[in-house]
Symmetry: D2
Subunit: 304 residues, 4 copies
Amino acid sequence: MELGLIGLGKMGGNMRERIRRAGHTVIGYDRNPDLADVGSLKELVDTLAAPRVVWIMVPAGGPTQSTVDELAELLSPGDLVVDGGNSKWTDDKKHSEELAAKGIGFVDAGVSGGVWGLENGYALMVGGSVENVAKVQPIFDALKPEGDYGFVRAGEAGAGHFAKMVHNGIEYAMMQAYAEGWELLEAVPEVTDVREIFRSWKEGTVIRSWLLDLAVNALQEDEHLTGLRGYADDSGEGRWTVEAAIDHAVPLPAITASLFARFSSRQEDSPSMKMVAALRNQFGGHAVTDASGRVAKEHKTPGA
Amino acid sequence: MELGLIGLGKMGGNMRERIRRAGHTVIGYDRNPDLADVGSLKELVDTLAAPRVVWIMVPAGGPTQSTVDELAELLSPGDLVVDGGNSKWTDDKKHSEELAAKGIGFVDAGVSGGVWGLENGYALMVGGSVENVAKVQPIFDALKPEGDYGFVRAGEAGAGHFAKMVHNGIEYAMMQAYAEGWELLEAVPEVTDVREIFRSWKEGTVIRSWLLDLAVNALQEDEHLTGLRGYADDSGEGRWTVEAAIDHAVPLPAITASLFARFSSRQEDSPSMKMVAALRNQFGGHAVTDASGRVAKEHKTPGA
Amino acid sequence: MELGLIGLGKMGGNMRERIRRAGHTVIGYDRNPDLADVGSLKELVDTLAAPRVVWIMVPAGGPTQSTVDELAELLSPGDLVVDGGNSKWTDDKKHSEELAAKGIGFVDAGVSGGVWGLENGYALMVGGSVENVAKVQPIFDALKPEGDYGFVRAGEAGAGHFAKMVHNGIEYAMMQAYAEGWELLEAVPEVTDVREIFRSWKEGTVIRSWLLDLAVNALQEDEHLTGLRGYADDSGEGRWTVEAAIDHAVPLPAITASLFARFSSRQEDSPSMKMVAALRNQFGGHAVTDASGRVAKEHKTPGA
Amino acid sequence: MELGLIGLGKMGGNMRERIRRAGHTVIGYDRNPDLADVGSLKELVDTLAAPRVVWIMVPAGGPTQSTVDELAELLSPGDLVVDGGNSKWTDDKKHSEELAAKGIGFVDAGVSGGVWGLENGYALMVGGSVENVAKVQPIFDALKPEGDYGFVRAGEAGAGHFAKMVHNGIEYAMMQAYAEGWELLEAVPEVTDVREIFRSWKEGTVIRSWLLDLAVNALQEDEHLTGLRGYADDSGEGRWTVEAAIDHAVPLPAITASLFARFSSRQEDSPSMKMVAALRNQFGGHAVTDASGRVAKEHKTPGA
């Protein structure tokens, strides 16, 4: 079938390649003319035969919103928009309604796979009506991994991104699990070969997984990860997972702990621990250290 | 080679079978005479040719301790004891020294694999001197999965059980990760097929793993797990992992959250939340409910 | 001065009383005619002399929004609205702008004090321009406790409710702190008089506080809180605190743990722990219990 | 009455002063001859009239153990030892039995009050038999604050230090509560005067406490705590609280989060977050930064 694809960055470019390998026609648009097959969104829409399917693969938030807005003007009733970016699931409902008012269908697709997706396939979690999802199914089949898994219609519009968001929340906690275990093993002198322990876990253990394989790869390159800073960004899905949990009164202690560990990793110094240090000094006369590490105050006399 | 194996329960019995399949001779002892090849520890020791290797596979704590004590009396210098049970790693050092005083070697082996080990092999994490570990290597090779993984010498005595303990700590947090994600998905009405989402995750996702496969199996049998209580025991390794972390000042927020979730799951009612409810009533006149769920107090007047 | 007060429930009624005791004129409106001084919002506005100050003390969300909407129609340029309810701070900005478009001022006031406020005074955290806050200052002075504390202008519109929200977040974690300590003391048989320990802490300790005094009161009435269920609602501010923290990438582990403990306290059974139980059964053949507590499955055979 | 006091550091010296002010005789010993009233433990024991009461106020662990050992040799049946240091409660049972074997009594006393105790009195939590506690009661009465609170016999030997340990666990979480709230307020630009908010909370709020007063003092000296590092030691009781909770399967999420926050505050870089960063790079090609903060790797090609 024929697909319009907007956004040809790292993910979008690889996806175009994988869809084409499956025999479909992809017309790609990107603000960067070196990547694009057409020069404008309008040209993209004009090139596609109706009923059109246009897949948006641009950053969540403003860029996705403005693309949806433009497509609402350019497309015709019976056309369909797929948002395959990392949109917040609450945006999907809004986009779905905005497009429905013009007779345009909407499907949201959470896409997992990262840099490995081109070869191994992308796991897809999609939301939308059964009819709309069916219209994109050949593309989903091209993108997904071979075999029985890697694709699910999770519910109506928004459910795809919701499922992908929870996937990422689980991912945060799994990464944190391995990371905590690794830190503890590295901290104990009696354990002499942590890298080899991780390597051994690849078979026969309860905790074998693809993430474990990646951890083994990383340790192969840098046994004690000395070349890295303990600094981890977050792309939004972890935050949204915790927010959704709060909305539904669902306790998520491990996932939230993983999110907070990332927040802490990005702080040069912890404001809250400054307060704890200040309080300890106030009541106990515990030494506190100033910004340069020198002892700043000690044996505070009460009332002084 | 020839091995004495003490403890022929679920794990020990399967391990005897796997070792025999590999062509080794196993003489098994168990308090239950229906399972045992010999009638006593003494008979076991007398039957084995020196230098002997005796593998203990009995519950951690008292049973393991008394078995080590008896073997210390029965075995000869040059013999070797393997503790393959779930012993706390600090016990290993004690046992190692106790046996060394008699010229008897010691190796600790953390064994993972559960009910799947007989067919798939057991992952082994062992601690002890290089020489002692080498003496048991043929047995380790018989037990481990085929291929390059599933066995590691983690360090000196105790390091095997330490690595296995951390493995289990990681396992707790991974299970909690999937469990939290599942609960959140089940809580949101827009997501209509949680089981199918889990099934789809088996390929192409970042979170694919053996535990995920097991979750899919469990949901296949009981889509919403309605037949189960939310009750989870813990076998000790999770607690020891947190204790070891505290000893080394290593923060383990996700693993500890997972342990505490298990503790909470076993409480009929939460004492701490009784106190929170009592405090809310004291300052805010918030309604509190008695044990039967009826509103017990409301609109408390201060001073009354 | 003269004040219009909308909402004469538990809080609003006591506040009217305290303001009147300070010599001010309060004209109260409530949907319940038994509580009200006037029969309608319009009558309230007509009764007050311009420039008017009208204090809203109704539930957050819909009721506050509709009251703001009505006042926007009824009031005149130069009048001022105070929202003293538990509104989310992001609503304040919206209300402030909506009213400013009509020339009406806005101040948000977070009010703490619960059932004790009438006698002891209410702590007030307010947001709004310096001029607008000054117009309400006599009322604030009447409501606040005597002495140097209990009132703050925290910033522009929204900052008052934000400060009150954080106050409540801190409150959650403090209550959880005492609750956890109490549960641990009650769990240890060597500690024979937990109530007396809490009572003793009222002087000389680092942890003495008003909340501790309330805990002592609660234990005085019911030594082991046997008459209560471990069930705690949350009124929203705790959730918003965590959401605000996530928006600003601030780690709040203790406050969030306290919120999640409340969520858990309200679950009859934990879905996530059902999944953990299911996983344990899958890999280890651990016994699981069904809803009635009977052992439902054990020694699962792999592949069966 | 007459008391022997061993250890005249910051705490011990102030306690000697407070006991003397109450009219009792204190004979103090310290390794530092400038502080001591006698030259040796033997001289201390010889100077006191039987039956003697000797209060140990030296660091927990080795120093306390060796002092108990020496006193076991020097004292006579009918004498009594009080351990007022920060001993782990499990040590108390051992010391109690060791001394009981010589006919010497034992009482453990958890002491709170820090640098403020000399003037305000020390809160005391004591463990031991009713008879033994009664023998020290005049000293306890001298040390405790005036009024009805500040002293409790918490149970048999060990219960005093256990209660003090839990006190400190609660203290950790309360400090963390204020610290988290403070950090969040400081992070939000709309809130313009965080110090004044804290000051206002001293009256009329639910969260007013002595620790809050200390926080206000600290902010008075340094509004944004810019002179401090976010670094907090821990003196052991927090760790023991979590260990005791684990032993009794009591979930302590807020207290444990507070302990882990201190651990993290002392790490130059987080090993676990290095692993998280490494994993993110492996699967997503996310940029990682090296130790100097430069981007070290990006857009990793799979298989490369």
